[in-house]
Amino acid sequence: MSDSESQFKVWESIPLGDDLGSLDYVLTDKMVSDYRRVVDNSQAAYPTVAARHPANLFYRKYASVMRVPNMGHDSEYFNPPITGKRITITGRIADKYIRRGNAYIIVEATAVDEDGRLIERSKLVGCAREVGKEAAHDNIAKKWGA
């Protein structure tokens, strides 16, 4: 194995299609009002944006070995969530690739409420950073001097 391959050892160990399990929560009035307050939008429809479903599922399983700072996000919205309903999210590793020397992981999460209403499907584009090997935002610091 070459040096360039071995530097992504942990990334390589995370299987494509890996099931990240599920999480659930009840969307409360407080969650909605808190979200609307912090984004200065009293009519915001999707407080689930702040929940970052893919990241939460990923870190529950891999936080000890991998960070995935958010380089981008793809989302599709089907029905706005309803306060008081339990939302269940399920996730998987949807894709993995190496681009310009950086390893990426695409984490997909699907949210459904207790009545079976599909709420949203989101994909996190994460820059794979091995815990203890490199700082999570090294790439940002190098590129923009942050």
Binding site: V38, V39, P47, A50, Y77, H137
Partner: protein, 153 residues
């Protein structure tokens, strides 16, 4: 009441928001408390290799959502799609403007589908995120607010 229909070249009415430290910190606690991280805590930011806290990408996504909810109503919340890449860090004190420009109007299953370039830019005119969004032609209805009112009763 019917909302105005969009055509190629139309600009959405933009949304401008100031990014504040206290709001960045609170954003990390909304819905799920994510604890201290590089978006809410200076020490966590330094441990992650950056000199100051940066707003999370999803915080920018919230501003883009407002842009699309305001301009599309139900056509956004039922069937909207967005794909965005974060291309420059956002700091407390930045003033972000979310923008949308109609790039294409097509027909899918007999219904119009509007495609847009979307982006956020800071007070210096620098893009901090950019991507695409898709939705049906704008609707005047905001049914998610009706739903919230119905549930409050």
């Amino acid at each position: 009441m019917m909302a105005a229909q969009l055509k190629v070249g139309d600009r959405l009415e933009p949304v401008t928001r100031e990014v504040k430290t206290e709001k960045m910190v609170e954003f990390e606690k909304c819905v799920w408390d994510r604890g201290r991280n590089s978006h809410s805590d200076i020490n966590a930011a330094k441990a992650d290799g950056i000199s100051q806290t940066i707003a999370s990408g999803q915080n920018q996504m919230a501003f883009l959502h407002e842009l699309l909810e305001r301009n599309f109503g139900d056509a956004w919340v039922y069937g909207g799609k967005i794909s965005v890449r974060y291309i420059h860090p956002v700091y407390a004190g930045d003033r972000l403007t979310a923008n949308g420009l109609v790039s294409e109007v097509t027909e899918e299953d007999g219904k119009a589908r509007v495609s847009l370039h979307v982006w956020c830019e800071n007070q210096d005119g620098r893009k901090t995120s950019a991507g695409t969004a898709h939705a049906g032609q704008p609707s005047a209805r905001r049914s998610w607010l009706e739903t919230a009112e119905a549930h409050a009763k």
